[in-house]
């Protein structure tokens, strides 16, 4: 289909002498579409090195602001260059562009890569320390509100807590169950394979039991919860920030920490042990299934050996960690949600950050717990 734009005739440029003045004659089409690569194609005719005193644009057929800008640039845009045009429209355009580009544009800063890199490192360092400080302040605020809520238990908002628990617990049962089951199967299988080499394959039961109870069940659950619920918290609260809902709450005298953050933290703190227990059980089931296949065990044999060899404290250590992980995931999720400023873009950014930080913190805390349990001898 033909487009009604006339075939872009080339811009032309010619240098002349007229009444002792150095004149730049321009003609043809001078639009943003026709001036591409002009600097190379049209060599600026040297007017004996003299600056251009007059621009003759009477031969110009089509003109737009980019074209004017280019003509002025080629003419070296002295302030007292006279301009002749054929139509008042072109004259107007010259005037508008000259006035508009009179002020020097703000210099575009280009820095070299070392400075850029140092700048980035400095910024992220400052950002990180601010982040830690803000998180501490946020934890303090939560503790204060938590303490206040103990004086007036209605402020725990049981409805909101139950609603969040439904989302974080009931809806996560399937995925946590399936994943822990599979990890149970894998652990048992690997245990049997490796331990068979020195005839100790029945110890695979301990491998599954202790591994699941102490670390795998709770860690796996925490990672799923961070990805599912922690990110959801950030996105929900962040969206409310963008829509100014959080500000609206503040003006009505509702404390966002009390209304949005506390129920979520409470819900996840309660949910995590429940989910971790569910994950442990699914993992044991997976281990039992694997052992019936690879060890010719029956379910009864598997669980009898488990009862006899795996102490209850292995189970407790996992269960002690779970609520702490839940609390830290919810805290980070809500904190990042409240950090959202301005645009929807920052919601996405902070949601990613919240998940990464939550998983990071969970694993660091897990290491800390290991040391504590080691010192306590359990």
């Amino acid at each position: 289909m033909a487009v009604a734009r006339p075939a872009p005739r080339q811009p032309t440029l010619h240098h002349a002498e007229r009444d002792g003045k150095s004149v730049l004659e321009v003609a043809g089409t001078w639009t943003v579409f026709s001036i591409r690569g002009l600097g190379k194609r049209l060599r600026l005719p040297s007017g004996g090195g003299r600056p251009v005193q007059m621009i003759d644009a009477r031969g110009v057929r089509r003109l737009d602001s980019a074209g004017v800008l280019e003509i002025l640039r080629l003419a070296g845009d002295g302030p007292d260059v006279e301009i002749e045009t054929s139509t008042p429209g072109h004259a107007d355009l010259f005037k508008v562009v000259r006035d508009g580009s009179r002020e020097t544009p703000h210099p575009h800063v280009d820095i070299n890569w070392i400075a850029h890199w140092l700048d980035e490192v400095g910024r992220s360092l400052v950002d990180a320390s601010r982040q830690v400080l803000a998180l501490c302040a946020f934890l303090g605020e939560i503790l204060v509100i938590f303490a206040q809520a103990f004086l007036d238990p209605r402020r725990f908002r049981p409805t909101a807590v139950v609603r969040q628990m439904y989302e974080a617990w009931i809806k996560a049962l399937a995925i946590v169950g399936v994943l822990c089951f599979l990890i149970g199967v894998v652990t048992a299988y690997q245990g049997v394979q490796q331990l068979r080499q020195f005839g100790a394959e029945t110890f695979a039961v301990e491998a599954v039991g202790i591994g699941m109870f102490r670390e795998l069940g709770v860690l796996l659950t925490a990672i799923i919860v961070a990805g599912r619920s922690g990110s959801a918290f950030t996105a929900q609260i962040g969206t409310m920030q963008v829509n100014l809902e959080v500000d609206a709450m503040r003006t009505m005298g509702l404390n966002p920490v009390e209304w949005l953050v506390l129920p979520r933290i409470l819900a996840l703190t309660l949910t995590m042990p429940l989910l971790a227990f569910w994950g442990d059980m699914a993992g044991l089931l997976g281990g039992a299934v694997a052992c019936t296949i690879y060890l010719d065990f029956t379910f009864v044999q598997f669980f009898a050996r488990l009862r006899d060899t795996v102490g209850i404290w292995h189970f407790y250590t996992g269960m002690i960690k779970a609520p702490v992980f839940g609390m830290i995931i919810a805290t980070i999720g809500c904190f990042e949600g409240l950090q959202v400023r301005g645009s929807a873009e920052s919601v996405g950014l902070l949601t990613t950050r919240s998940v990464v930080e939550a998983i990071f913190c969970v694993i660091v805390l897990d290491a800390v717990f290991s040391i504590i349990f080691l010192l306590a001898g359990v």
């Binding site: 487009v3 734009r5 602001s65 800008l69 544009p105 703000h106 575009h108």
Partner: protein, 273 residues
């Protein structure tokens, strides 16, 4: 009624920059526009008004090609947009500019880079030329020169609107679409914006279609006004519409807000003489 939903023909031999014939827009069962005709002539500013839910924004989206046209023909700058794709569509898009309601600036780019996006895509100029054009457009829309290096999130709502206008003007389009350009601006800011559109229209030779609810804008900058009524467009000058017999039009232009504006405008006009 004259061509293109006009009460009286105002063409005067001017080129048609936009020609809509028999447009039908439909979402499921709900018909928003039916058999809608509308014309725009070169060099005029037309205001598009209508009650809530009459589909002003939908019509704008249909014209700029964001909604598929169910029925009817749209001719923009002499090009029929039906089935237009590839190079021809690309070229046409290079000759139109759109300012979205909340700016729709790319948030990861600075204002200058935002303005350079269409230039790079359509004209492919070198970096210094593009920077010079961006600086010029920033100046033209009345933003301070250092705005170019700022991100959209660092700007106020009014500045974002201006920056968005600068981006829409990047290629000196023949046809400019503005979606509620003065909504959310204070009256002084809105008046400055109106002046800006008027002066840019004159100096750059634009044709402008603006969706607006601002009666002041309608009085001060629009040459003609298109009203969405009963799924169709009725277009005319302010005087013609003031005399037009339709309950919504009467209420809109003669209501408390409309009358007040009309009175002030008349007073200003007589004071000016």
């Amino acid at each position: 009624m004259a061509d293109g939903g006009q009460i009286v023909d105002h063409r005067d031999g001017r080129d048609l920059v936009l020609k809509l014939r028999g447009i039908r827009t439909q979402f499921g069962e709900q018909v928003v526009h039916d058999n809608l005709d509308f014309d725009m002539f070169r060099g005029e500013i037309v205001g598009l008004v209508g009650g809530s839910g009459t589909g002003k924004s939908v019509l704008l989206q249909t014209i700029i090609g964001l909604n598929p046209v169910r029925k009817g023909e749209i001719e923009m700058l002499g090009v029929n947009t039906r089935g237009l794709r590839g190079k021809a569509q690309h070229e046409l898009q290079g000759r139109t500019g759109v300012q979205f309601q909340d700016g729709a600036l790319f948030s990861s780019l600075t204002v200058a880079e935002n303005i350079m996006v269409p230039i790079r895509e359509h004209a492919g100029l070198d970096e210094p030329s593009m920077r010079a054009i961006a600086a010029l457009k920033i100046n033209l829309v009345g933003l301070p020169p250092d705005t170019g290096n700022k991100k959209p999130s660092e700007l106020s709502g009014g500045m974002r609107k201006r920056a968005s206008l600068a981006r829409a003007l990047a290629l000196d389009p023949d046809l400019l679409f503005l979606d509620e350009p003065t909504a959310g601006l204070d009256p002084i800011g809105a008046a400055h914006y109106d002046d800006l559109v008027k002066s840019l229209q004159k100096s750059l030779g634009l044709s402008v279609l603006m969706v607006t609810h601002d009666l002041d804008s309608l009085y001060s900058v629009c040459d003609r006004i298109a009203v969405l009524l009963d799924k169709r467009v009725v277009a005319g000058t302010m005087d013609e519409l003031l005399a037009y017999d339709h309950p919504w039009v009467r209420e809109y232009f003669h209501g408390p807000r409309g009358l007040e504006t009309a009175r002030l405008e008349l007073k200003a006009a007589s004071d000016g003489k």
